[in-house]
Symmetry: C2
Subunit: 460 residues, 2 copies
């Protein structure tokens, strides 16, 4: 049977942008474990959560029964500036590999933030604006999330305070300038503008900062703003996965248009925002018994939360300020080796994805970074897009699966998420190009050391 001629890029029309996000938790019989308030060790209340997040976002965070949630019209207008994102048929990669597999990727890099992060940044900025806030605070490491949030705040006229890990602030001046160009104030962390920053400066005068410290400063800046600011996060949370389902919904709509049913769906996984967004609609079908897919989460071997972590309650942030979540985690003190260049450094995994993994609805695979960059370069040279190191984890496994098909002759359909571009990651590429990149896999002792720091578990 001849398949319908598939173009290189499938673009949905503007009026086919999804009008509702899909909340996969509504279709889960066994729900993800609730967020826990570290003060009471009980499930967190909406009121308590609303002190940290905007009210509407706190509601989305806790809602595990409503399957579809309307996307506000103002957000649709913004989405129209860079969405629908193309679903690309990787004809050139298929040819390069000589595989009978059919490879597709959903490309989220065609916007100035360079990644899918903008999908949730704009939603969070919108609800902050609706609530009458003056602005939001956040932390950023490499700068991808900070950039997305800066763009979103600029659009809605919100103030945006970004605490950027000092060493990144100095080593990645370009990302910093993109944020400043969008009107954000970018402060190297630790800074003298917060109590926690001053304290860390006193204790560690020459420190280059850490994500944990930047989070603490961002939270303090919001909490001491007299209610004018809230703190926002770019991954891990249920609300973020919800916003990111626009990726999966568009992917499914584009595939349906051509009558294509994927066999394997692959995504990179740090905190889980992209993977969760990509797979939710497909997992929904699985949960409702309508279809079956193989779903593969790909994580770095140097930060292997799903493949080597424990499924327990842990703190979401190194500063232990945010609510606790049950998730696959390496321990909130875990930091990947300094040789790690590929992103996806988060110590835990979204509690929704963790639960899906625990229920056997998803596989996980860890890959080493030199093989990830090799896949990135192979992909870039034939598909014309220089991928982000994070995204390249998914490329690696997509290529591996396509090569298996070459051996077996199977014409499987593989879909993967290409979360973004690597234009601000050229130092990492340089290390790879110069043969200076090495792999690092934590020893069992190291994994055990951090696992030993896991907090006392709530009794629910």
């Amino acid at each position: 049977m001849e398949e319908k001629k598939i173009p290189y890029k499938i673009y949905l029309k503007e009026d086919e942008i999804p009008r509702q996000w899909y909340n996969v938790r509504a279709d889960m019989k066994k729900k993800p474990a609730p967020l826990v308030d570290p003060d009471t060790m009980k499930p967190i209340t909406l009121d308590k959560l609303s002190q940290v997040f905007c009210r509407e976002l706190a509601e989305q965070e806790l809602d595990d029964t409503t399957p579809y949630i309307d996307i506000p019209e103002e957000l649709i207008d913004f989405y129209k500036m860079y969405r629908p994102a193309p679903l690309v048929r990787a004809y050139c990669l298929e040819k390069e590999l000589g595989t009978p597999a059919k490879i597709y990727y959903k490309f989220e890099g065609n916007n100035t933030s360079g990644s899918h992060k903008l999908n949730s940044a704009i939603a969070q900025a919108y609800y902050a604006k609706q609530q009458g806030l003056k602005g939001v605070t956040t932390e950023t490491g490499a700068g991808q999330w900070g950039t997305a949030l800066s763009m979103a705040c600029s659009y809605f006229g919100l103030d945006c305070k970004v605490f950027m890990v000092k060493v990144s602030y100095e080593q990645k001046p370009h990302r910093r300038e993109v944020m400043r160009t969008y009107g954000a104030s970018v402060t190297p962390s630790p800074s003298m503008t917060t109590e926690v920053g001053r304290k860390i400066f006193e204790e560690h005068p020459g420190t280059g900062g850490s994500l944990g410290c930047a989070i603490s400063e961002a939270v303090e800046a919001a909490m001491t703003s007299g209610g004018e600011y809230r703190y926002v996060l770019g991954s891990v949370l249920n609300q973020v996965l919800l916003h990111q389902t626009i990726i999966g919904l568009e992917t499914k709509a584009a595939l349906d248009k051509y009558g294509v049913k994927p066999d394997i769906i692959i995504g990179c996984a740090g905190g889980g925002s992209n993977l969760g967004g990509l797979i939710s609609p497909f997992v929904g079908e699985m949960l409702r018994g309508e279809a079956d897919y193989r779903i593969i989460a790909v994580e770095p071997a140097s930060c292997p939360s799903l493949t080597r972590g424990k499924y327990v309650y842990d703190f979401c942030d190194t500063g232990k300020i945010c609510p606790m979540a049950k998730m696959y985690t390496l321990g909130s003190g875990f930091i990947p080796s300094s040789s790690h260049a590929g992103g996806l450094r988060y110590h835990g995994m979204s509690s929704t994805l963790s639960e899906l993994y625990d229920q056997g609805l998803m596989e996980a695979r860890s890959v080493e970074q030199t093989s990830v960059f090799a896949a990135a370069v192979q992909f870039a040279r034939v598909e014309g897009i220089l991928p982000a190191p994070e995204s390249s984890h998914a490329i690696r496994v997509a290529i591996d699966e396509a090569m298996k098909c070459k051996k077996t002759g199977e014409e499987k359909t593989i879909v993967f998420g290409l979360t973004g571009t690597g234009y601000f990651d050229m130092f990492a590429y340089e290390r790879f190009n110069n043969g200076q990149m090495s792999d690092y896999i934590p020893t069992d002792e190291e994994i055990a050391k951090f696992a030993a720091t896991l907090p006392e578990q709530p009794e629910l």
Copy 2:
């Protein structure tokens, strides 16, 4: 009369990618002056030109009678990876400005080279491959053209030798690494690999290099390759403008689809590759008496070839190796002030565009760089794309024209070319964000000094 609802982004379908380039010279009654061989001071012959360029490209260079030239099928396949490029209706910018004008921009930045340069790079690589060459050589300053050529050569399995101005090689390591990732060899110029490089090193031991020197090295590397390499250029030439007409043809097709007729068409102009490509199909209509448009070329006040240059024969390269062209020029020794950050540094202008300008079919305007960056930031914040400094020259004038409409109440339709993204130009943005950017306009004496170095004119 209600206009047809225009989406934010007009995407043509893949099978609507133009199958032929349009050669505007065929419709010009008075043709652009021919290229002149500096050895004979007579129009250059095809055979002579074929020693520098691939045969097919040399033919395209000299052909001023064939209106449409087929785009090879292999190129169409490559174009499908990143084309058709969107024509964007700038709804958000219109709202920000409060103008009754309708603003559209053709966005060429959605590919890893970050600009329209890829349109011609891939064509030149294709013909080099067809001719059985081993590779090509070129020079690059900031790296935009070098990146595009690296991608194109990688796709066709050609070797790519890029001579990159030493100071840029050191100050822009990111662009350099993108090229290396695509398999190009990138040599800082001057280098010890060529005779001319060694000579310059002897004379100026600490030099940071110049575009003129890099061109000379690239040409020498091609000429001493035993015929295995040719030298290629990214702008100015008729062949390049021809390949870039895919921009204008797509723009016109997208506008026609919605029955939109532009009043003003605006493009930035360095050597003229983007502007020529954008306006050719529209100028064709003007030449055939079918329509009338206002066309505006925008150049930097610090490098004002159209607005302050002379229309005479000059060398196309600082090294005086390439054929001479009649064009608006400031003199081949002209170099913009070191404070100039906005690209478009070429001393002359495509001879086709020069002739159109001389015939009054096109206006020219020069703008100062601080106003260009102000327009860039204003645009970025509402349209979500961080523009290249070069492209922002067109944004500046598009905004100016839209603000005139606001005063007069005219609902003019403005189309401009957004040639690319500014992700590798953050140092320039940083200077602007920090208020450290200044304007520089050459004095009449400086202009006269370089004009005095113009070569003896051929008698044709």
